[in-house]
Amino acid sequence: MNKRRPNPKQVPDPNEPLWRSTLRVAMPLNLSYIPIGLACGILLHAAGFNTLLTGLVSLLIFSGGAQFLIATMLTINSPLLSIVLMLFFLELRYALLSSSLSPYLKGSSNRFLFMFAVSLNDENYAINYLKFATDKKWTGREALMVEHYSLLFWAASNIVGSLIGSALKIDLSIVNFALTALFLYMIVMQIKNRLTIVICLISGVLAAVCMMLTKSTLGLVISTIIASLIGFGLEATLRKKLPDSHWLWRLRSPGSKKEAVEHSDAN
């Protein structure tokens, strides 16, 4: 093969075009965005967003959590400033996601990083992080394509949800549970050992206490910082003092062989 292709990807069929092999990686995520995107579109419609703006918010903010939050806060008539502040705290977590991807994107231009950051999201992060870690041929270019596929599916299902919302009457408190279920799913996917479960419990209690004390969602940020520091400290102490502690044993779930990303094992 002397044709100079920047990133010949390792796939069963070496002639498979790049757009198709990345689409195959992104497809499980794309499909799971459909129900959540529909729910989000329905809620945004109920909050008064028209279909065009629903499309715009999905493209520009591209975060299930943030868009559900906008919808909820608009229905209780929160002022603009407090919505934006809440969004800021909610979106702060991306600082952590993007710093953890940065070792794989060294040497990229600022323009590329801009494009990459705009369409970064929890779920496509999970896919790309796993691919970067397991597939040496995975580069920023493929990762950006995965991001764009998921963005496309997300925006389309939001728009369809907005149209459904204008046609049907739907109980919104139930649709809102889609977000809770999404976060629960992401927690389960993060649990790697027993220590993580302890951190979950600590974080849950701290979150409730902090929110009751601050009477605002600022409590979320405070409790997240404290709980993650406790986790960091506990893990470092355990590794030093009791390296064989059963708290550090890896948990394997029945489904963990079938990862969210297909063909992730780079041969």
Binding site: L80, T196, T214
Partner: protein, 115 residues
């Protein structure tokens, strides 16, 4: 629950623009900074625990905290039960779509019986 919002589309538009800015800053600047210089090891070790802490806090907010008064709520039984179901389903299937759909159906059915 009806839409009681009185904002017009221009206000929605500015909300989106401001939302874009606050969503963009934490995604872009760490990426720009840390692709040019190394991340300290301890920072990475700490960051590992942030997503799980934040997601748990958000779930607690959805299920146990009243969205207007920030008081503790312990009577959302259908959501609590549905949450347990979602955890089990997510653990066994590892599928985001199945977890969310089962959660929605679960909370729908449970709320019919538990009002």
């Amino acid at each position: 629950m009806n839409a009681v919002n009185t904002w017009n589309s221009t206000q929605h538009f500015w909300l989106i623009i401001l939302g874009f800015i606050v969503a963009f800053i934490p995604r872009f600047f760490p990426l720009m900074l840390f692709t040019k210089r190394a991340i300290p090891e301890w920072f990475n070790e700490w960051m590992k625990f942030v997503p799980v802490s934040l997601f748990t806090a958000l779930v607690v907010k959805d299920i146990f905290i009243d969205s207007a008064s920030y008081a503790l709520l312990l009577n959302k039984y259908s959501e609590m039960l549905a949450a347990v179901v979602v955890i089990i389903v997510a653990y066994r299937t590892r599928s985001m779509a199945i977890s969310v759909i089962v959660g929605l159906i679960g909370v729908f059915i449970l709320s019919m019986f538990m009002a």
